[in-house]
């Protein structure tokens, strides 16, 4: 397995090997699924749409629906305007979505298709029926990563749909942007906000869209997703709390620019400290008092951290993933006594570099922190000085097998296991689940490796 990977590190200028990122449109498509009654539309070759749909379907194990402009050689020369107008006609007659969220691709971006004009003209000529919402995000695949795509589509939701009305709402509420997370996380965060008594518009919300129940009949537009009326309301909110700066900053900023809604950016609430910061921010912005049940949840997380700290203490960990996930994961591992020695991401991110350096500079000064890199590089680091645990998305399993490492699947995508879309990893409760997963993986390995005389019943 991966025998061709040399130990010796060589600087590469042009060749990316085993990427730790993918392209913008898939993130945009995922964000669009967080709008109720929305059909994502990929403006480019049909292969892009098929790849994104199949990848999302494999990760969520739910049918992901999206349409495409199906570009040909002709559209590549003459532009994709005619394709998009045809697509509108076909989509409205066949699938009749309330919302179409268009993402571009490297092909349509290189051609330079002017989407706002095509959409405006289609509306004027009646191709887009009255009352139907069409939004778009520019998501050139050659800029940024899937996180950028998610960020751009979430921003587009605000640009197109957020309204500020003269009369303030009777009951104040906040906006809550959960970040590029699993449907289970968004569902859990909504419960978490309800537990605290916070009134919020949560968007984009992919729960009950990509984790739908089996009912025996196919629902083209499932129950979930943030309703458009709620998206209009975001302009009148008291404040915006945005989780995961790389994914959610753009939308929060747009709400401030467009509707004067102030915002706060927070790390994803993975672990005690990050969740504490979220709770503290909610207390300060909405004036709520945390209920006793929340304190007990927190206590349970602290309890398991202390009960099991000997198994994580001083463990060398390699973490790979998206910046918003890796930063709080690194903080959480440090708080459990582990040593994240290699922390990498495929996305280019100042946030990632700064926050990881802050978290690690005193506890793991030797840590390698690198953004805009790949899994090949991480494997080379591990070959030079091994680790006790690898935390990564599914593509890490090849490194784990090659180096015989305990492996925790974390982040996007996970194509070979179940549960990631059902069990949250955010908040106090989600962190308990995440920590159990990490601990059990290490204990499993201990049981496998321990000789008979130290093979223990009680661990």
């Amino acid at each position: 397995m991966l025998e061709a990977t040399p130990k010796e590190l060589v600087e590469r200028k042009a060749l990316r090997v085993n990427p730790a990122k993918t392209c913008q449109p898939i993130g945009a498509m995922y964000a669009a699924l967080g709008i109720h009654g929305c059909l994502p539309h990929s403006h480019g070759s049909q292969g892009c749409c098929s790849y994104h749909r199949s990848h999302l379907t494999r990760h969520y194990r739910d049918p992901i629906m999206a349409a495409t402009s199906s570009f040909t050689e002709g559209s590549s020369v003459f532009g994709g305007g005619a394709n998009l107008r045809n697509a509108f006609k076909t989509i409205y007659q066949l699938y009749d979505p309330d919302v179409i969220a268009i993402n571009t691709t490297c092909l349509s971006e290189t051609i330079g298709d002017d989407l706002p004009t095509i959409i405006r003209e289609s509306r004027e000529s009646g191709i887009i029926p009255e009352g139907k919402v069409v939004i778009h995000a520019n998501t050139p695949s050659y800029v940024g990563t899937h996180i950028t795509g998610w960020s751009n589509m979430t921003k587009a939701i605000v640009t197109y749909l957020a309204d500020k009305t003269e009369t303030p709402p009777e009951t104040p509420y906040i906006n809550f942007i959960p970040g590029y997370v699993e449907p289970a996380d968004t569902r859990h965060l909504k419960e978490f906000l309800a537990q605290l008594g916070v009134n919020a518009v949560v968007f984009p919300d992919t729960s009950d869209v990509v984790d739908t129940p089996q009912t025996g009949s196919f629902e083209m537009y499932p129950y979930g997703g943030t309703p458009v009326e709620d998206l209009h309301r975001t302009g009148n909110a008291q404040t915006t709390i945005a989780l995961g700066p790389d994914a959610s900053r753009a939308a929060a900023k747009e709400l401030e620019t467009k509707c004067n809604v102030p915002y706060q950016l927070l790390d994803l609430p993975i672990g005690v400290a990050a969740t504490d910061r979220l709770v503290q921010t909610l207390i300060e912005t909405t004036g709520i008092t945390p209920p006793a049940s929340l304190k007990r949840d927190r206590g349970r997380l602290v309890d398991i951290m202390t009960d099991m700290q000997q198994y994580l203490y001083n463990k060398r960990v390699a973490v790979s993933g998206d910046p918003d996930q890796v930063v709080p994961m690194t903080e959480f591992l440090v708080s459990c006594g582990a040593k994240p020695v290699y922390v990498i991401t495929g996305t280019s991110s100042k946030y990632f570099k700064q926050r990881c350096a802050e978290i690690l500079q005193n506890v793991v000064p030797e840590a390698v922190i690198k953004d805009d890199t790949d899994l090949f590089y991480l494997h080379q680091l591990i070959k030079n000085e091994p680790v006790d645990l690898l935390v990564s998305n599914v593509y890490g399993k090849y490194i784990a097998r090659a180096e015989d490492l305990p492996f925790v699947r974390f982040g996007f995508p996970i194509l070979d296991r179940v549960g990631h879309s059902y069990f949250p990893t955010l908040g106090y409760q989600g962190s308990i689940h995440l920590l159990c997963n990490i601990l059990n993986t290490l204990l499993e390995r201990k049981d496998r490796d321990d000789p008979d005389e130290v093979f223990e019943l009680v661990l």
Binding site: L2, E3, A4, P6, V10, R12, K13, A14, L15, R16, V17, N18, P19, K21, T22, C23, I26, H41, G44, S45, Q46, G47, C48, C49, S50, Y51, H52, H55, M65, A66, A67, T68, S69, S70, F71, T72, E73, S75, S76, L84, N86, A87, K89, T90, I91, Q93, L94, Y95, T105, C106, L107, T110, P140, S141, Y142, V143, T145, G346, F376, Y398
Partner: protein, 250 residues
């Protein structure tokens, strides 16, 4: 003797299959026709006209009946079809696990075609194995604006220096065709420089009606550049491509 005959489970299954195949369809031809009509009338008029040629009810009295399958997808239809790149790199070329396949384009195309078509590749003894790797030039905005040939050549050189493969293939993605990167020229230049086969495929995603265009591009590329090109005289055991070619040409 026949009354003592007990068929094996395979024979029983084959018999059951045969029975089903020969039995009359529980759906009447009228029902089929009306269902197909329902499907086709759901489309906008112009689209319906095209779709009527794609979904055809078989009529035994019509010897010239044909399904028009090799046609473009109507924009807006939720299609399962992929692109020429997916057919070329993803389907046909990727299972050649002992050479390096570089995707020249933004990162996504290489990512989605990574490890999804392994065909259980197993290297020969002492053979190289790159089946679990993903290689791309990961083009950025600068490369799209100023051209990516230089980056591609550097990537081929870096792949050669790090992995020493016996062959490298290069696969074009949509924007590469648009900006006009000469990948054929780059491949030839690097092939001459490195002394190994570097083959390129102009399998830009927008070509053809689906991934089938990519199968065509890949198979012809392999046929033209590799098949029969091997000067080895020693017989290699197993079902190798060149082995088969030698046998048929004898």
């Amino acid at each position: 003797m026949t009354e003592n005959y007990t068929p094996t489970s395979e024979q029983a299954a084959a018999q059951a299959n045969e029975t089903v195949m020969r039995s009359q369809s529980p759906v009447s031809p009228e029902q089929t026709t009306s269902t197909v009509e329902d499907i086709i009338t759901a489309y906008p008029k112009k689209v319906a006209k095209k779709r009527a040629k794609h979904i055809v009810v078989r009529d035994g009295n019509e010897p010239t009946q044909e399904i028009q399958a090799n046609a473009r997808t109507t924009p807006g239809i939720i299609t399962q079809r992929g692109c020429a790149f997916a057919g070329c790199k993803g389907v046909v070329v990727a299972p050649f696990g002992d050479c390096i396949h570089i995707v020249h384009g933004p990162v996504g195309c290489s990512y989605y075609s990574w490890l999804t078509r392994r065909n259980q590749f197993k290297p020969r003894e002492e053979g190289q194995n790159f089946i679990h790797y993903c290689f791309t030039t990961d083009m950025n905005e600068h490369d799209i604006v100023f051209g990516g040939v230089g980056k591609l050549k550097t990537a081929i050189q870096e792949a050669y220096d790090t992995f020493h493969p016996k062959a490298i293939t290069v696969h074009a993605t949509c924007p590469v065709g648009l900006i006009g990167d000469d990948i054929q020229g780059a491949a030839k230049e690097m092939s001459d420089k490195l002394g190994i086969s570097v083959m390129s495929f102009n399998c830009e995603g927008y070509k053809g009606v689906s991934q089938s265009a990519g199968h065509h591009i890949a198979n012809n590329g392999i046929f033209k550049n590799w098949i029969g090109a091997d000067q080895e005289t020693e017989e290699i055991p197993g079902y190798t491509v060149n082995h088969e070619v030698r046998r048929t040409s004898c």
